[in-house]
Symmetry: D2
Subunit: 330 residues, 4 copies
């Protein structure tokens, strides 16, 4: 039986806690949260106890920690958990500061512990199937990748203000998709953005709509478009053009009902938001974490992947801010 | 240059006239219609002259006639045109009376003239492609055929009253599809129907909604469903289940626009009605007619096909009226 | 805490056991199966104990039983569980014999216990959404229902021999869909069938392909087509034509990947079979059972529904065997 | 009767000639081509005569000319036709040199003749429907435009060498779509490209794959991706994200057949190439030209539109060559 502690009992913490509880041979022992009531409620739901960080890290029975607390706590918790020899699952991003993130990666390497970053999209059944088929050569060599990534609506301004900006907050997932799907590294980044959905976002120094272009070592091209608002829901698509064809990953729908009326033929909107869309992905990433931890196999989304996605986000933010193409040392 | 006369300058006559005019090496010489103004207008549009039936049949330069006049004139015109040695293209049905239709077929055989019945659906690009792929063995042996055939709205009651009933008027196309796609003959027919869209149709002694089941010599099954009204437009689909898969023929849309709004993801309704849906089919059946006429090759939709579809329509009407399964001598 | 026993630890028993275990406030106490090893394995997985039928029914702490054992045991278990005052969830069919099924329904009524039949399709998210939208009047009054129900492949001949025939075994679900969706009762049934996929099925006195037509009190029409084999997988669709439009329930796919290659644009096959396709439905029907049991609200799929579906299956079998239309007393 | 001359009897000249011949009240009088045999053949097909440029421009009965000859002849013919007071339909591009193109536009303005550039995509039923619905406000204010534009295969290298490069040759259509759909002008262009499908294209100093980003005065964003090769055929899609939803223009298919086999559910590839995909658009643009010419209403695709698309193509080529963002004076 593997004993596990979770840091953070908010929205994503609850998802992870339920998925931890569903793993055979794994037990959720502690729930830690600065908000005591949330911690207590989640602990009770899964037969766990409320814990403090020190207590958890000192408890030698705890083999793994899941970090689902606010972003500004990630780096500190990673460093301490690594020092305590715990296996680590950490929500993205590692940190908003690239150097701190690199320091975390270094600490993890030094400690030799398993550390996985929560890029759950790599575990989505549709995206994973596409990736496997691409690797199997079904469309030959990949040439271009187009990523569409739109939220149903913007988060509160308070969130945006401390989010690190749209490139680190929202596009970090898309940069990880880029690296994963093309299996290649960027040599240049061009990013532009606009504030089109809510002027308050501009006031907060951010944009809500972006267009990013990456070129890779092999000359492959990638375009990413994102928006904080899509009236029709959570839009998560990408497509790869290859030398022998194209693979597209489409949106998921809650049902397969089609209605034909006097005005149109209509089908369901996409799954509402990430909790619905990536339900299976969250479950499968957690299973992957515990399997990797037990087998010693490398995790699919390492802390190095987290650092590299952050590098791309920083480069994109620089490109947008300074209105220039940013070169990356290969 | 082949000189051609057309009988009937109504809606379908205009379609055929334009398609005749578009054939290389073919000239529309005469337009005949009891309504003089319509005849004159259509003749003028294509540089033809208004003619009378006797005149046309006596004109030895006329090699072919296209019969697009009202149903009750078909048999007489076929008999006279066959006697005059003209090649004949005749709109469905041959006649509402099976014996008269058989007499026409006999006369055509005796005269040895080309005679094609306007089952235009066999020339629709989608249906024809499906048929070719089925014949090529893509889904193995066909086992079941499902036909959905719905009009956007019912014709005027006056039309219904003289239509011969829904089985002869509307389902005759579906019976032809059945024979064509399964390449098999029916041994039993079961038909039922209801009047659900307009009580006046029941008063006229007819139904507006039908469900028909046919079984074939080889034990294949076919279900046909029809309605005089589909609020979303002209619904023309069929699917074949075979031992190795399924082939489906879907509706055509005017455009490929998809709109995602806050309520649904919507696409176009089907093409409005038969003139739009079967535009290409009407053009291609006319080309086929003149090719067959010139090459001497058999036409794809012979007068025998017209007679056999009518037999099935009669059997279905009997099954519905007498509430019993009707056996057909193989 | 509600204590529950399950009878049957086979394929469907395992599904139900996991869903019972996932209900808050419900505990799986006993697992019973004639095959001791299966019972022990399933009991251990959920922290339950192996039990005998007598023991379970005598245990006053057991409030509900779930019957997932072989069909020939259903009636006896229902009668005994009703007599013992237990709430009952029973897999379809109630029994292969209509009179025995009616006796069970009578016993359940007399005992006043909650009794739900496992027509899980009514709990499928797609089907349930369609049903709600139909009830909400989105397409006006329903006029025609088309049901396509095809298995990926036939079960072993030994299963078919004791299945009660395709109408009671396979179409019983479709008859329930018919009653549920049209909210109407049949006045006539016509069924025909063929043996097209495997001659051994004919030798067993059964067919593998059927075409059924039902008419209702209100004159609505329903066509059902079924096959024991669809090379492309489990095909579970239906569509309702109404006065103002059409609602279609389409197949579910494992992923939303689309591949465009030099030969075609391809998407996933449907979910493989019922365990995959109805995973959500099985979970949701079990939640419904315990909610109804606790609230006293009527279950959505009562034992009367089980009896009525069986009546239709018998009528269809008679129609097929005797080659006649079977009238049902309204 | 309007008499018309066509310059160019090649592939696109034949399309235009047939569409001219199909206009009511319009007669194709002359066909001019440096290749005498082609001119004669096309003239004969439509009952026209072979002509020389001088003869045509001197013939006062000729009211309009259609320029479908090679790109390097466009400017000269426009200037001479404008001077002769003829209405002009000219295939894109006006010229490969921006200054020459501007001189043509100036000459056309001075002469006051109707002049339309053959951006046929604006007349495609799908694209035009999308444009109308966008203008009607169906998705609110447009924010982002994504254009996918891929050919099934690259033209011969000899063509590429004299094409003016991929930005002027292929993307000029996409730049026109950008201006038309967003009804806005670009303030910056970023373009990058790679040679991924055929190294010989790089040797010719060109690329075969491009990624372009435009920003507009209003801050709208547009991404265009193009490739000279898509193994699955001619890929012509675009989508607009607006404040209230999204409109997508999808590919057209030759048929609506869907095949479900043991491996996948497959539908047709897109229409093969531009002659098939834009058949309706070519017919409708020619009708528009003659309507505008007769009514005096402005044409939808003016020579100024041709000049502006060329400006964007030049800016994109500069951006790609000099690896920098190019600003455009608004």
């Amino acid at each position: 039986m593997i004993d596990v502690a979770i840091f953070g009992a908010g929205r994503i913490g609850k998802i992870h806690a339920a998925n931890i509880a569903a793993q055979a041979g794994v037990r959720l022992k502690y729930v830690c949260d600065v908000h005591a009531e949330s911690a207590a409620e989640l602990a009770q739901r899964h037969g766990a106890q409320v814990g403090r960080v020190e207590q958890v890290l000192d408890d030698s029975s705890v083999a793994a920690v899941v970090i689902a607390s606010s972003t500004d706590t990630h780096a500190d918790l990673i460093l301490r958990a690594a020092a305590a020899g715990k296996a680590i699952f950490c929500e993205k991003p590692v940190d908003l500061d690239l150097q701190r993130a690199q320091a975390c990666a270094e600490a993890v390497r030094a400690a030799g512990v398993t550390c996985m970053i929560g890029f759950q999209r790599r575990f989505d059944p549709t995206f994973e199937s596409l990736s496997r088929r691409l690797e199997a050569g079904e469309i030959g060599d990949p040439e271009m990748l187009l990523v569409t990534s739109r939220d149903p609506g913007a988060p509160p301004l308070s969130y945006i203000a401390s989010s690190g900006g749209i490139f680190k907050d929202m596009l970090i997932h898309d940069f990880d998709i880029f690296r994963w799907i093309l299996a290649d590294e960027a040599v240049s980044v061009f990013a532009t953005g606009s504030c089109l959905t809510d002027p308050a976002i501009a006031t907060a120094g951010d944009v809500d709509s972006t267009a990013v272009t990456l070129t890779t070592r092999s000359g492959r091209l990638c375009q990413i478009n994102t928006s904080r608002r899509a009236a029709y829901g959570y839009d998560q698509r990408f497509e790869v053009l290859g030398s022998k064809g194209m693979l597209q990953a489409g949106n998921h729908r809650p049902t397969e009902v089609v209605a034909a009326t006097a005005s149109q033929v209509g089908s369901d909107l996409p799954e509402h938001f990430f909790l619905e869309r990536y339900r299976a992905a969250y479950a499968r990433e957690m299973a992957h974490f515990f399997q990797a931890m037990q087998s010693g196999a490398p995790v699919r989304t390492s802390i190095e992947d987290g650092v590299k996605a952050l590098q791309l986000a920083e480069a994109a933010a620089t490109s947008w801010r300074e209105r220039r193409i940013v070169s990356l040392s290969a």
